[in-house]
Amino acid sequence: MKRKKVLVILGVLILLIVAILLTQRERVFYRIPFLAPEENVKLARLYFASPDADYLRVEARRILREESITDEAKALVEELIKGPRENLDPTIPPETQLRELYIVPEEKCVYLDFNQAFRTNHPGGSAGELLTIYSLVNTMIDNLEGIERVQILVESETIETLAGHIDITKPLSRNAPLVEY
């Protein structure tokens, strides 16, 4: 009898602990690494335009570390849309919204899907277009591990150009000559 009781208690205990562990699983497996606050922050390299529109320059900015690379990429684009804090010029029209972002690891490519405002509110000009496109491309490639190419989309479609100059029908790689260190 006693043995049976003990077994029942054991069984109930096991079930209880399993249940607790399961409900807490997310916390156990995902939260622990982020307990330390300084590890919650990452230093991002954001590319903005130099005031004379000649080059891209890096602004280092502390951003929250995200759980997935996709969320991190989204956060980076949002920071670029917010514009620079230092004495640099923005590269993306402020009305721009990122509709969707996805990453294809085998292609080492990130797809950025913007709304129409990205295109219609862009001032145009070869210099302006190059700065806009490569501020996105370089920021993505520099900050995201395993990403080597960036494809820009507007309303889910590939477009020929942003405002009539630079060909963005295909994924683009990092542009080093445009960067001033």
Partner: protein, 564 residues
């Protein structure tokens, strides 16, 4: 999604966890081997060894649980859903959405073959199992559980989508679909409408779904003539016909302006293979499905010569229109000037309201006047008024006119405080990605093996071919430098730089081509200058001087080359 995943894991875990109850025999190892034997022996005798020390038993029990938890949880975290291991319809009863299961009859090629597959209805939409579709259409499936990415391939064609996302990528093009794919008990379900996009992309098949009779008609799913591509190079055009497997063919010229290719045993979707090209040599391509062959008609603009041969991996028939031969004209006789933007596209707009399209048109007209008056050669404008001309048409026009130079005139702009200033000149750079370079190399290298023979091209032939496939990089950069110098002598604003970038408008040009940004319209000071007629004239003068110098240098160097 996460919820379903967790739900599945819970089931599995519970099985393992409860299974653990029968484990004490194995798990008392903390107590040591001797004790183990002792307990085992006591049990067999019918005594109750636990009764003597219940606290110890509970302790051991807790340790067991901890051990199980430690082992099982990391395993759980790695647990993935296998999409191919779909569950049968009775399992779906437990699904929260309660899909009703049904059958779908699939009929191929007007009743030549039939099959029945399972389907599920969720909230009025019919879904089929991905694994069944993959089997049925013999597709290759790749599944990435972390990103939930599905890759379906058949030959050279590929469809990529993420389960639950309403976007799919068909051969590198993004498409939007109304109803996304979804999970049900770990199996991936595709809406029937979604199928047509997938099958259209990878199999070039057409789908016809009748929801009343529940019949899915598939036609042309096994097309062996898959597609037609074209590459416009300087002086020549390459047309590539993609085949699923090697097929015999014959190319012939019936009329001076058309080449007919019969692909024997070919099956195609004629609409997919027909193309408008209009690159100055080839007008269009039309495909016809004959009873036992696919016929592809290539319409040429002039009676140009052609060459045909086959290539492997993937199998394809290649037709080169006007394959490169010795160039005879050593003179610059036609110049195309391209005033940027126009019509619905105003280009950049200054703070004072000055529109790029107006300013550049005025400069282009002035430049045309200068060139035709002083050099006496033909000048063509891609637009003469305020109307829209697509980028591709601008270079196609230059190619059709057999122009020797292409000069695109623009005004610059940038976001921000409008401090950008000065003039700059760009020339086209080749594709930037490694992949694009590899494709270019593949398409170029094969010319060495004409008609499948192993005979290499002669060195001279190869150099000529290579030249034809390199855009006029050297010439374009020479011209860009001269233009920048020419403007520097005439304008008092900042001389920025000569640079390279992959301009859409320059990529189609079959001649040396540049794009000049004469000043920053987004900078109020320079906007005022751009409005000034005198400034416009000085820009035109600067451009004219550069072109005249380029022409003189070019013709002199060519003259030296032919008469030693």
């Amino acid at each position: 999604m996460k919820r379903i995943l967790r739900h599945r894991n819970l089931n599995k875990f519970r099985c393992r966890g409860l299974g653990g109850l029968s484990l004490p025999r194995i798990c008392f190892s903390p107590g040591g081997d001797r004790e183990a034997k002792h307990v085992f022996a006591d049990r067999q005798r019918g005594d109750n060894p636990y009764g003597s020390n219940p606290k110890g038993v509970i302790l051991i029990g807790l340790m067991v649980i901890a051990l199980i938890a430690l082992i099982a949880l990391p395993l759980l975290a790695q647990e993935e859903i296998n999409p191919v291991r779909g569950k049968s319809s009775e399992a779906t009863a437990s699904d929260k959405y309660r899909g009703t299961s049904n059958g779908v009859k699939v009929i191929y090629d007007e009743g030549q073959a039939e099959a029945t597959i399972k389907s599920l209805t969720f909230q009025g939409t019919d879904f089929v199992y991905l694994k069944e579709m993959v089997k049925l259409f013999r597709l290759d499936l790749k599944w990435d559980a972390i990103t939930k990415k599905v890759t379906l391939t058949s030959g050279p064609d590929q469809v990529i989508f993420f389960v639950g996302s309403s976007q799919i990528m068909v051969n590198d093009r993004i498409k939007k679909i109304i109803q996304p794919s979804r999970f049900s008990n770990g199996a991936i379900l595709l809406p029937i409408e979604f199928l047509s996009e997938i099958l259209d992309g990878v199999l070039k098949a057409k789908i016809d779904w009748d929801s009343k009779t529940r019949i899915l008609k598939v036609s042309g799913g096994r097309l062996n003539v898959r597609g037609v591509r074209h590459f416009s190079y300087r002086g020549s055009t390459r047309i590539v016909i993609d085949l699923l497997r090697p097929l015999s063919y014959k190319a012939r010229k019936e009329l001076p302006d058309q080449v007919i290719i019969d692909v024997y045993g070919g099956e195609c979707n004629p609409g997919e293979l027909s193309l408008e090209i209009n690159d100055g040599r080839v007008k269009n391509i039309q495909a016809f499905q004959l009873p036992n062959a696919t016929q592809i008609v290539v319409r040429l603009i002039q009676g140009l010569p052609y060459k045909d041969f086959t290539l492997k991996n993937p199998h394809r028939i290649v037709l080169d229109i006007n394959p490169p031969q010795k160039r005879l004209d050593y003179k610059i006789t036609t110049i195309v000037i391209d005033p940027g933007h126009g019509g619905k596209d105003p280009g950049a707009i200054g703070r004072g309201g000055t529109r790029e399209k107006d300013v550049v048109l005025a400069i282009a007209k002035e430049l045309k006047r200068l060139i035709s008056e002083r050099l006496g050669i033909r000048v063509v404008l891609t637009r003469t008024g305020d109307y829209f001309v697509p980028l591709r048409e601008r270079t196609a026009r230059a190619n059709n006119e057999r122009a020797d130079l292409f000069i695109s005139i623009h005004a610059n702009a940038a976001l921000g405080r409008g401090r950008g200033e000065g003039f700059e000149t760009y020339f086209h750079s080749l594709a930037l990605t490694k992949e694009a370079k590899a494709v270019a190399r593949r398409e170029n290298a094969v010319i060495r093996l004409e008609k499948g023979s192993r005979k290499a091209m002669s060195q001279a032939e190869f150099i000529l071919w290579d030249m034809a496939h390199n855009t006029y990089l050297n010439e374009s950069s020479d011209l860009a430098i001269l233009v920048q110098e020419g403007l520097d002598k005439k304008l008092k604003i900042r001389n920025r730089k000569v640079d390279q970038a992959h301009f859409y408008v320059l990529s189609g040009a079959d001649m040396p081509s540049i794009l000049v940004e004469v000043a920053f319209i987004s900078n109020p000071r320079e906007e005022n200058m751009l409005r000034n007629l005198d400034f416009q004239k000085r820009v035109a003068e600067g451009l004219y001087n550069a072109i005249a110098l380029y022409k003189r240098n070019f013709e002199r160097s060519m003259g030296l080359a032919i008469t030693p």
